[in-house]
Each structure stands twice: as structure tokens, then as C-alpha cells.
């Protein structure tokens, strides 16, 4: 090519002509889509036509008030199976954002990351890793973080090596009518406040639904989440998260796990056949990780579990203390497991109230006592906990 160039130099006039007549590079679908996203104006709708569109680089949007619309989550597919650059599929930092009716597949990292955005709607969007549950899959499917007024509706998340639908460090959240399957965590609400999670199906994940509060984050004090009318069944996929991540510690067979979060109302759900335990309430201490954050509250409190149906589960616990319990009793692990860690001065009902859950059984694992004296007494938790208000989003979709 440099030889060509030197020849060109001998003919400066030809070179000038060539330069002036040089056609602009033709834009690929990918380039033209990214250019649309960059040059969009508030109020624009960017259409993704039906078809499988191959992309090699992360897409990103910074313009508020934009809607990205496909022709259906099974018809308009953004495929990143040949991705060469970027840590996510689509990265959004834009208020008043709507994305609907499309799929994002096989991204190397996160599929749809929405960072520091207010008023976000993700409707009928599918994020999927099509090769099944693999450690090499990207971490998160639908991933709003440090955002507010978030609606995730009618969406599908499959195959994430961390969480399929993950809402982190956010507030005012609704996740509904969605399906999470073959992820490590199906739906995870982490370090967030005021979330309603309802009418979802979480199945074949390692853990169906997680409500966590973790230390060392700029936004913590996770509280006020309602988990209701969900189907949380058969979450028994072996944990395939990369080691080092907090979800790598979640036992396979976890239905709903509440970790260090406060003010959680769990009602009207169907729990079935989650083979470590249908529901677990644990302190951060259970992770065995050090806590160097003075502002962090590692204890779960005010967990209110009522009117749920429990069946099966607890039959093949993927957790040493639960397996030991099963061996000792010869019975499946009870439906509701509490690790028994409690802030000094607090009582059992301060942590957990349970009523109207049919014949659901219960165990306090006595983790502080080295699991030596587990108690199956549900009585201390027979109390009526608080009913939390409905979450309403500041500006509806």
C-alpha cells in the first residue's frame, strides 16, 4: 500500500482529484444505527427492523427522550455473537428512555446496561445467551444501575452468568410480567429501594429471585421491596457464575433469597421444587467475607412472608449446612430457612414474620452457633408484619 502511495505522489494532480472525488465510506447497519443513536434528538423513535443484525461493537445512547423500537422480541434481533469491542451490547445513559420489542443476544459482557438514568421503560425485550448457561456468558441481561423510575415489563432474560434482570443501586422500580430462565440469579434487586416485583416467572435459574444489600457501594441501605404473585419454581441449575462474584456463593436450588435487606414483603407467590430451599433469609455474614464498611448493616430485618404457597423443594441442598441438616433430620430442608443471625437487642419477629403460608415449614439454622442447634419452631415468627405501599413511578410509561 505504501508503494501505491509513492506512485500517487508522483502525480499530485491525480492525487488531488482522487482526494476530492473520494467517496465517503459506506455505512454498515451497525455504523448507521450507532450514528442514529448519537445524532438522535429527544422524541425520536429509532426503529430496529425485523431480522438478525450482526454487531461487532457496543452500541450506546446518551440522548434523553429516545425510544428504540423493534418489531418483536423474536423478530428484531441485535446479535453480538461476533462482538469485537465494548463491555456491553447497548449502554444507555439517558433519561426518559424506552426500549421495546427487540432482543439482544450473545453479548460478551452485559446485554443492556442503563446507567444513571431516570424514567426508564424496558418492555417486551429479550436478552439471551443462546448457548445455554455458561460461565463465559455475560454477567447481566437487563441491567439498570443508579437509576430511578424503572419499569421492566413483559421481558425475558436467559443465560446471564450473574443476573438475568438486575436492578442495582436504584429506586422506584417495577419488574413485572417477565420471565427469567437459566441465569445464575433470575431477578435480582440489589442495594435498591422501593421495588415491586410481581407476576414474573423465575425458573431454572440457580437462584430464582434475590433481594440483596451489599457493602462497599455508594448506594446501600436496600429496603422496601415487595415480591408478590410470582412463580418461583425449579431453580436448580448448577451455579455457573465466575468465582469471586457474590452470586457465585448462591446455592443451586434457591427460590427466593433475601440477604441483608430490610422491609421486604413476600406474598401470593408460588414456590415449588427449589432444591436447596424455597426461601432463604440470610445475613451478609453467611458469605464469610470480611466487612470493612462501617456504614453497612449486614442484618436482614422486617421480612414479612404471608399468603404464599410452598411445595416440594429442599431435597438436594447445594450447601454444606443445609446438606448436614438434611442428613441429620432425614427430611428435606424446610421451605423457609433463616440463618438465625440477629443484631443484638433484636428479636425473632423483628427479623421475620410469617402467616398464612399453608403448611410451610421453617428452620432457624443457628449460624451464629456454628449450625449446632437448628430450631424448627415457627412460633416465634407468628406475627403480622407491615404491609408496604405500592410502588408508583414518578412519570408513567
Amino acid at each position: 500500500m505504501f508503494t501505491d502511495f509513492r506512485i500517487a505522489l508522483l502525480f499530485p494532480i491525480a492525487l488531488t482529484l482522487a482526494a476530492c472525488g473520494e467517496p465517503q465510506p459506506q455505512l454498515s447497519f451497525e455504523e448507521s444505527l450507532q450514528q442514529q443513536l448519537i445524532e438522535a434528538e429527544p422524541g425520536d423513535v429509532i426503529e430496529i427492523p425485523a431480522g438478525t443484525h450482526e454487531l461487532t461493537r457496543s452500541l450506546s445512547l446518551d440522548v434523553p427522550g429516545v425510544k428504540i423500537r423493534g418489531e418483536g422480541m423474536d423478530r428484531s434481533i441485535l446479535s453480538f455473537r461476533n462482538q469485537l469491542q465494548g463491555a456491553e451490547g447497548l449502554l444507555v445513559s439517558a433519561d426518559d428512555f424506552v426500549i421495546e420489542d427487540l432482543a439482544i443476544e450473545d453479548t460478551v459482557g452485559d446485554a443492556l446496561k442503563i446507567n444513571e438514568s431516570n424514567n426508564v421503560t424496558v418492555r417486551r425485550v429479550r436478552t439471551e445467551w443462546t448457548g445455554g448457561p455458561l460461565t463465559t456468558n455475560g454477567a447481566y441481561g437487563i441491567y439498570p444501575v443508579q437509576s430511578s423510575n424503572i419499569l421492566i415489563d413483559g421481558s425475558v432474560a436467559i443465560g446471564a452468568s450473574d443476573a438475568g434482570i438486575y436492578v442495582g443501586q436504584s429506586t422506584q422500580i417495577i419488574v413485572r410480567n417477565s420471565r427469567a430462565e437459566y441465569n445464575v440469579a433470575g431477578i435480582e434487586i440489589e442495594n435498591s429501594t422501593f421495588a415491586d416485583v410481581y407476576d414474573n416467572v423465575a425458573t431454572n435459574n440457580t437462584g430464582g429471585i434475590l433481594v440483596f444489600d451489599l457493602p462497599n457501594l455508594p448506594v446501600q441501605g436496600g429496603r422496601n421491596t415487595r415480591v408478590f404473585n410470582n412463580s418461583i419454581v425449579d431453580n436448580n441449575t448448577a451455579n455457573f457464575a465466575p468465582e469471586g462474584n457474590i452470586v457465585a456463593t448462591v446455592p443451586a436450588g434457591s427460590g427466593l433469597m433475601v440477604l441483608a435487606n430490610d422491609n421486604i414483603e413476600v406474598f401470593g407467590n408460588e414456590f415449588a421444587n427449589n432444591n436447596s430451599a424455597n426461601m432463604m433469609i440470610v445475613s451478609y455474614h453467611i458469605t464469610g467475607l470480611p466487612i470493612e464498611d462501617e456504614n453497612y448493616d449486614p442484618f436482614p430485618e422486617s421480612i414479612h412472608v404471608h399468603g404464599n404457597s410452598f411445595s416440594g423443594g429442599g431435597a438436594e441442598p447445594d450447601s454444606e449446612p443445609l446438606a448436614l441438616l438434611q442428613q441429620a433430620t432425614g427430611q428435606a430442608v424446610p421451605d423457609v430457612v433463616w440463618d438465625g443471625t440477629i443484631l443484638p437487642g433484636k428479636t425473632a419477629p423483628d427479623v421475620l414474620c410469617m402467616r398464612g403460608n399453608g403448611d410451610a415449614d421453617f428452620v432457624n439454622l443457628d449460624a451464629p452457633g456454628g449450625f449446632a442447634a437448628p430450631s424448627f419452631e415457627i412460633g416465634p415468627h407468628d406475627c403480622s408484619g407491615a404491609e408496604l405501599p405500592e410502588v408508583s413511578l414518578a412519570s408513567g410509561p
Binding site: L15, E22, Q24, Q34, Q83, Q85, V108, P242, G244, I286
Partner: protein, 369 residues
């Protein structure tokens, strides 16, 4: 005497006047040449004399590319000093041309020398990025050079350029990524998401170091600006620490390295504040640096490791793992490189290795993990 010279000088003066860089307030022209920042002389690609070639004290790694940077302020305009920082006037244009020296068979070579001009016989230009100061603030754009090296075209959505780089360790095939305009903001907007886009190299602390002055180190680049009438007086700001300064201590160099490679996102207001890692070189609190800090949303980037920095154990530290990785979902920085930066890795490895202390071994009670 004067009279007799005029007929000779006048055409030359006119030519020179025509050869001013040209500022566009509204549209971004499609061709780099429309800005008139450079002139071609045979195979040479030369910044116009009205521009100032500069180099920051603490440079960012970009796949071993060389960078030819120019600064231009419109005639009669000056930069202000606001809180000790340069505030360029509207009409200012900063440029940065990314290039590689070329070797046999069209292979690209690692850039070692700071060039004040390029020669197409010896260099291959990949892209020229502009930061243009308009009335409403800075605008970033990238122009990608054609194969013939005759022109660079505006590419709003960036570009992917396959390349082969020859280093002492061998030949590496990689894809050089020209950023799209949002990705420019990924580094140049340090207060996420609504902060202003701003220069990172043409800032007071980066221009103080005489050593970085391509004119030979006799004056600082701020003094050069002053000589051109672009600045009343140099700011009092001290020189930015440079990770390349082999006389500085390890920690100073490591923090300087993180400042320019991590701090654009990993600052208290940055896009990566979600991680609670503050790696902008101004924070030394161990937990903010990631000492014995477990990852949050690192995914595969955790590398099966537990702590961001494990003192004394670089091989158990996620920070180093992510610098060494070139996997898209693992590597850090996420943007601006396809290749690992061996010299930076060596620096951070030495720094962590020399760090006193230890992290606890977790006793995992619950999962079988």
C-alpha cells in the same frame, strides 16, 4: 529596502494568511483537510506553524500508537485561567493524530519517539481526533485515514481498523478501534452523566512538565502558549505526576498511572462510581483503591479472584487481572485499548507486590461455590 522586498513578500504573506486553521461553529466537516490544521509537503504531514505541538506529562496508553497533538487558538484570542485551570476560548481546536511507525511488509511498529511531524514514508496514520471548543462547549470527533493516507474522513460511529503490530515480543494481530462520539465522552466526560466534555491532555497540570515539551525541554508548554499570546501568565499549578517518571516512587507512579488510565470513570462522580472503586490518583484510602474489596458486578472480570487488590499478591488481585486481560467483558480500561500495556502492568504489579498487609481468607459457610 522595504519597498523593494514587498513584491516578494506579499504573495508569501497572502499564502500564509490563507493557510490559517479554519474553525467551524456549527457543522463538523466531512474531511479533516477542511480544518486546515496541517500541510502536506511531499510525503510530510506537518502541523501548521500557527498550531502548537504539545505532549502531556502523564500520557494515556493506546495500543502502542504514537500521538501527534496540536493546539490552536484563533488569532487575538486567549485562554483564561479559572480556578487554576485553562479555559480555552471558543474557536480553539485541539487535534491528536494516532499513528504508527511502519516497518517491513507494512507491519506497524511501536511508537517510541515523540514526533513533531509525520512522514508518510515512515508512518501510518490511523485517525485524527479533534476537540473543538464552540460557544456551547467542547465537541469531540474522529477522522479516520483512508488506506492511501490522502485524507481522513469523519466517522461519527467510529471505525474498526485491523492492524499488525511488531514489537520485540513478536507480531500481534489486533483490531484498532476508533471511538464513536459517545465513546469519546466515555473518557472526556468525567462527571457522569451530565458533566461537560473537556480536554484531558491540554490541561494545566499536563502542560507544565518541561520534559514533555517536544521543543527540547527548555520551556514548558505553558510558557510556549504564553509566548504566542495565548495565555497571560502560566497557572501556578504544579506538574502532574507522570507514571513514566522513573525517579518517582512506586506509589506515586502507580497513582499517576491510574489517574490517567482509570480516573476518568473511576472517580467519585464518574461512570464507574457504581463499583465504589476510586482510582483517580487523588484518593489513597485503601478501600477506595480496592484493597481487600470484593467485586460487585465484575462478572468474568473478577477472574475467579476475591479482592480487587490483595496486598503483596498481584496475581490474586482483580485490578491486575483486568489490566492483563484483553477479553471484552474483563479488560480495563474498557475503552481505548485492544492490547495489554506491558509497562503499565509491570508498574501496577510491582506496586501491589510491595504493598504491606494481607486480606482475610473467607470462610464460606453457605454455598458450595
Amino acid at each position: 529596502m522595504i519597498r523593494s522586498l514587498l513584491p516578494v513578500l506579499l504573495p508569501a504573506l497572502l499564502l500564509a494568511a490563507c493557510a490559517e486553521p479554519r474553525f467551524y461553529e456549527q457543522e463538523n466537516p466531512q474531511r479533516l483537510s477542511d480544518w486546515n490544521l496541517f500541510r502536506d509537503e511531499g510525503s510530510r504531514f506537518i502541523p501548521r506553524e500557527q498550531t502548537l505541538v504539545f505532549a502531556p506529562a502523564n500520557p494515556l496508553f493506546t495500543d502502542y500508537a504514537g500521538k501527534l497533538r496540536t493546539m490552536w487558538l484563533p488569532a487575538g484570542e486567549q485562554a483564561d485561567l479559572v480556578d487554576g485551570e485553562l479555559e480555552f476560548p471558543a474557536g480553539s481546536i485541539l487535534s491528536k493524530t494516532f499513528y504508527y511507525p511502519t516497518g517491513a511488509d507494512g507491519l506497524l511498529l511501536e511508537s517510541v519517539d515523540q514526533e513533531n511531524e509525520l512522514d508518510r514514508a515512515r508512518h501510518r496514520m490511523i485517525e485524527t481526533r479533534l476537540l473543538v471548543r464552540r460557544e456551547d462547549g467542547w465537541h469531540a470527533m474522529a477522522y479516520v485515514w483512508n488506506e492511501e493516507q490522502t485524507e481522513a474522513f469523519l466517522r461519527v460511529a467510529g471505525a474498526s481498523v485491523p492492524a499488525s503490530l511488531q514489537r520485540a515480543s513478536g507480531v500481534t494481530d489486533f483490531v484498532y478501534f476508533v471511538p464513536n462520539e459517545n465513546q469519546c465522552a466515555g473518557c472526556h466526560v468525567t462527571v457522569h452523566p451530565d458533566g461537560p466534555l473537556h480536554p484531558l491532555g491540554a490541561v494545566a497540570g499536563q502542560l507544565t512538565a518541561a520534559a514533555a515539551n517536544p521543543d527540547g525541554g527548555r520551556q514548558s508548554q505553558l510558557q510556549a502558549m504564553q509566548e504566542r499570546g495565548w495565555l497571560d501568565a502560566p497557572p501556578a499549578q504544579s506538574a502532574a505526576a507522570s507514571w513514566e517518571n522513573s525517579r518517582a516512587d512506586l506509589e506515586t507512579r502507580a497513582l499517576a498511572y491510574m489517574n490517567i488510565h482509570c480516573g476518568h470513570c473511576h472517580n467519585p462522580d464518574g461512570a464507574a462510581d457504581t463499583s465504589a472503586l476510586v482510582l483517580d490518583g487523588n484518593h489513597r484510602n485503601p478501600l477506595e483503591l480496592g484493597v481487600c474489596k470484593t467485586p460487585v458486578a465484575a462478572g468474568g472480570g473478577a477472574g475467579d479472584l476475591l479482592y480487587s487488590i490483595h496486598p503483596g499478591a498481584p496475581e490474586r488481585s482483580i485490578l491486575l487481572y483486568r489490566m492483563e486481560s484483553s477479553e471484552l467483558d474483563e479488560m480495563m480500561p474498557e475503552l481505548g485499548r485492544s492490547l495489554a500495556h506491558d509497562e503499565g502492568i509491570a508498574l501496577i504489579r510491582d506496586w501491589i507486590a510491595a504493598m504491606p498487609g494481607d486480606c482475610p481468607e473467607p470462610v464460606r459457610a453457605f454455598g458450595n461455590g
